[in-house]
Symmetry: C2
Subunit: 647 residues, 2 copies
């Protein structure tokens, strides 16, 4: 059991201007707003009924189940976000509410440990008859994750006990033995949750069940086909995707390309990667790496968005990355954060952290407005409201963020990601402390048995100067490994004012600094952060002849409210001078990029539809803002990939 218990979770308090603001928005807006949503107290959104479902299941209210079959998971994700929030910001009122919800969950649990309001209320005799579509294991997974987080945050065991009872029951029902069900979830999630529960409880059965779900998936005879037959359900499943939809089209270890529903996929890949690092099993390791390479080198948008196809909210094929019709569900990118985290657990390569950083600064937080009460489910890289309005095949794209959705998975998922962002900064392994991300925070660790505190000060992501104060309780020999961001062309490091030789100590994107650290040792990092013109691999059809702007980890876009309409008529030639400016008053304080581009001159109404006469263009001052912050002023056109040339 390589790796187990080596990665002790550090205690980290994020106080960084960029993230603290987001965390505060979640604490002050999103969590209370979502609590109202769960209790049907929002006038501008459809009812959630999620809390009422638990009350009805507990026999405390009369009524019918309402909502999606996975409605319970909204409560779970909310509780998980609350847990992360309480971990760094105590809030007795909120904790009381959470405790009451946990009590309610306990009362809704059946005697044998079963917990699911849909089946308890609606079809009590049909448990486990439709794993493919009905999310029972998915809901348990989210509740387990929440219970682990709540225990870690508060030390209270009630929720953990409820979910251990549930997990024990599930462990008895599913497995390789004859009296057990040889099935697996239609929506993967519990696989990664069971690992978290295993890490807390050290109960091997949880780990084994997670492994079983992965190893069993897609084997013949195909469980979902047998199950559908038993239900007399012979309807075709998910059109041309078929069982690719839930990644059960072939045994998991045969899978080398990401296919199907992106969230299902990425949650499963997360579990595979963590099982790989826990078990050291080469089959898991190789599968995780192959899938990682496929997703991040062939199927990922510049923003870290994944899932190019709206049909099935799914991965498409290699290099098929349309900017305007993509799905890029917020939850899928959040899943990619988890997966990158587990890949880093598996091996310390900066490429994993590079993706993690790309995703957290772009395609995830784009899902929420700056105020924290509107959300994108779909995160396109190009929006033309007129096209969305008129083209049926663009209907899934929204030109503006929406209030709480009917399928409300993304907002609470974002809330738990933002509140737990500090958990991705560090990892401790053996006598090494890895710093994967740079953001203002204070961390407490135990290294070689000695408490070590780390303080990061930075105005990242707008400037890449970082001060790191290392303070062991007593002088301590250990290695600090600092990630050099993939976007950085030139980095310098000084320790106590002395330049540190990066080149000689670099491995897989990390600079390894071993020394005898003393109180208040100061490391100063400087990463050269320039505006970069990014091009795609030429196999990406949609982006040939186009350029995107990035600075540090931030991907930029141009918006109609800065640049006028018809953004397709703007070009940014390769010799365009680009400059970066911090503006305190823009979008809560961002660096924007300005430069001289070209624009097709205004055309008259009489302009022919087709012509042999070259177009006229004029120079124009362009302004690009961070992608994550688009549509926070005025709705309108937006695009990340800008034409290089117009003719």
């Amino acid at each position: 059991m390589k790796g187990h218990a080596k990665d002790i979770k550090p205690k980290v308090t994020v106080n960084d201007r960029f993230w603290k603001r987001k965390i505060e928005v979640v604490q002050k807006e999103v969590i209370p707003y979502q609590w109202k949503a769960l209790n049907d107290q929002l006038s501008d959104a459809k009812p959630s009924h999620a809390i009422r479902n638990f009350k009805i299941a507990a026999g405390e209210e009369e009524g019918e189940f309402y909502g999606k079959v996975f409605q319970d998971s909204d409560v779970a994700k909310w509780l998980e976000a609350v847990a992360y929030s309480l971990e760094t910001l105590p809030n007795p009122d909120l904790e009381t509410i959470a405790d009451e919800v946990i009590d309610l969950i306990g009362r809704a649990q059946q005697n044998d440990g079963y917990l699911n309001t849909y089946y308890t209320i609606k079809e009590p005799n049909k448990r486990w008859t439709n794993l493919r579509d009905n999310h029972e294991l998915y809901v348990s997974g989210h509740l387990i994750e929440a219970a682990v987080a709540y225990y870690e945050a508060t030390g209270k065991k009630k929720f953990l006990n409820i979910m251990c009872k549930n997990a024990d029951y599930i462990t008895s029902v599913f497995g390789p033995h004859k009296h057990q069900i040889q099935g697996y979830p239609g929506h993967q999630e519990i696989e990664l949750a069971l690992i978290k529960l295993y890490r807390i409880t050290n109960k091997d059965a949880y780990l084994q069940l997670s492994k079983f779900f992965i190893e069993q998936r897609g084997k013949e005879p195909h469980y979902f086909k047998l199950e559908a037959k038993k239900r007399n359900d012979d309807r075709p499943f998910r059109g041309e995707l078929k069982y690719k939809y839930n990644q059960s089209h072939t045994p998991v270890f045969n899978q080398t390309e990401a296919v199907g529903h992106a969230v299902r996929g990425v949650y499963m890949y997360t579990a595979i990667a963590e099982l790989a690092s826990i078990t050291g099993d080469n089959t898991f390791i190789e599968t995780a790496k192959k899938l990682w390479n496929n997703v991040t080198k062939k199927q990922m948008y510049l923003t870290g968005g994944i899932g190019a196809s709206p049909f099935g909210e799914a991965f498409s094929t290699d290099y098929d990355l349309p900017n305007d019709t993509c799905y890029n569900e917020t939850c899928a990118s959040i899943g990619l954060v988890f997966w990158a985290n587990r890949m880093l657990q598996m091996e310390k390569k900066a490429e994993y952290a590079d993706v993690l950083e790309r995703v957290i600064y772009n395609g995830t937080i784009s899902g929420m407005d700056l105020k924290g009460n509107k959300f994108f489910y779909v995160n396109p890289l190009e929006v033309t409201p007129e096209v969305i309005e008129n083209r049926h095949d663009h209907k899934h794209v929204k030109p503006e963020r929406q209030t709480w959705f009917k399928t409300a998975c993304c907002p609470p998922n974002l809330a738990r990601m933002v509140t737990s962002i500090g958990k991705h900064i560090y990892s401790v392994e053996d006598q090494q402390l890895f710093i994967h991300l740079y953001m203002g925070n204070e961390g407490e660790f135990i290294i070689n048995g000695t408490p070590v505190s780390i303080v990061q000060k930075t105005t990242y992501p707008w400037e890449a100067t970082v001060e790191i104060e290392v303070s062991p309780a007593q002088p301590n020999d250990f290695t600090l490994a600092l990630r050099i961001p993939g976007w950085c062309q030139h980095a310098t490091i000084t320790i106590q004012g002395e330049v540190f030789n990066i080149a000689d100590n670099l491995k897989d994107g990390y600079v390894y600094i071993r020394r005898n650290w003393k109180e208040n040792d100061l490391i100063q990092l400087h990463f050269q952060m320039e505006v970069q013109r990014i091009r795609s691999n030429p196999k990406v059809r949609e982006n040939v002849g186009k350029v995107a702007l990035q600075r540090g980890p931030i991907v930029y876009c141009i918006e109609e409210c800065d640049n006028g309409s018809d953004l397709h008529g703007i070009a940014l030639p390769s010799d365009a001078k680009l400059s970066a400016t911090y503006d305190e008053n823009l979008l809560n304080g961002v660096v924007y990029i300005s430069g001289e581009g070209k624009r097709i001159s205004e055309t008259s109404e009489k302009e022919e539809l087709y012509s042999t006469i070259p177009m006229t263009t004029n120079k124009v001052e362009l302004k690009a803002i961070p992608y994550y912050a688009w549509c926070n002023r005025k709705p309108g056109e937006m695009r990340v990939w800008i034409n290089n040339q117009l003719q």
Copy 2:
């Protein structure tokens, strides 16, 4: 009644290498093939059942109706194509078959004149209860068109009498009077057919009913809504299109933009234009012009394709012309041919003939392979088979032509267009003979009471040298008006060897030559025909930074079998030298275009997905072939719009 009977239909025999070959393909392949299809004798296509439906309706066979509710129209379109074919190429065997089909149609007709196998067999008591969806008037329209064509070709009156009886019945059922139905067809078609019947019979009631259908359409209270209510049908109609789908969303004279199902729209616009020229009514004239301008200046592909949206096979909005997901139904482009013809009837402006020429040489005949037994329903301007295979929203596009479709409207529609192509070359009005199109043919006309024969000799569209021999039976004073094609930058005309001054005699794109014509007067035309780089109006988002090639009326495309895969990685910079070469052995003899372009150099599998390093490109010899002939060698990628620059 301005204009009526002025446009005497000339008798024209096309003997042009380009078109004769297509006509022969239709005569030798398509018509026999489609006859087999109508009789369910094709092993590789779904049964049509169309002839059997008539036999069952006639009480001569047992069985059930099978097929679409408009299945009868396949027989009608086949008969119409047969008629045009017989007009110039007598074929007694074929004529016998056609006569038998006509006899069968007569036997399937009800005593009161009603004629529709679906209702006769399936719901005899439900006639006219669902005009919106069920195509009764549409089917009658196509049968009327066929009957008129058959009468004109053979002089036989039987079919015409059957359809007059049918039209008389319909004229009694529909109209403004209280005892009549104030409805109109869900699929427009009979409007233009009734005008044809009026022109042959001179019976005003047919013209009035055509007008009534147009004038009544979209008025409140809305007929289709009332009708649906009567049927207790409260299902939503056609999603977000609603009644735009069949152009009944608002009264016809309020319509200034083409919306909804493209074939329905263009058939209606055709009728409006013809009613405009017959009645001289300004409301009709203005409506026809506004819609024409909207379609041809804002919603038409370079190929003459119309109907950008697969949802509802419909028009989209202005300048919304995606190349890969467009619908561009073959039938819609065929309808545009009819409409352009009627606009030319209304006023002699070359812009109408320019569109007509664009459509007949590109977006219509692309619907059929060179052998005449495979067909495209959808005519995209960009195809990547891998994308079609993987993206759900591209499923309507086929990478290869298919055999007879289940909705088999396009193949017989193409057959009738090709066999009647000669009808678009000339028109005679007052003492003027207009030549709209250049193709090898012999025509016979009566001008000022004198027979005049015209012989055109040309290798158009590959070269634009045309010899026209004008031979009146005796010397005759009249005007010959020759169209100068819109694509032509420089034209010369000589008459009997003497240069004719074009500039002084040009009006709306026609050169008016009035003289006393004598036997064997020879006109020689030369239109400068160069390879042209076409760009789109910059409002067309998809085509900014792209160029298309055109030479004369022919639009070109690049294909994978000539240029390798990844056509998106090819660019044709503005200084690329382009040359045109006739190749007798290529695609039945075409002019291809070659030139030096650029191509992104082969990338390695390890190439990053995103990079700051400029791409490398290399020079490459490109070969472009006529768009209409694509996918006649090997299926693969194809694109009309080529990148100007790569970076």
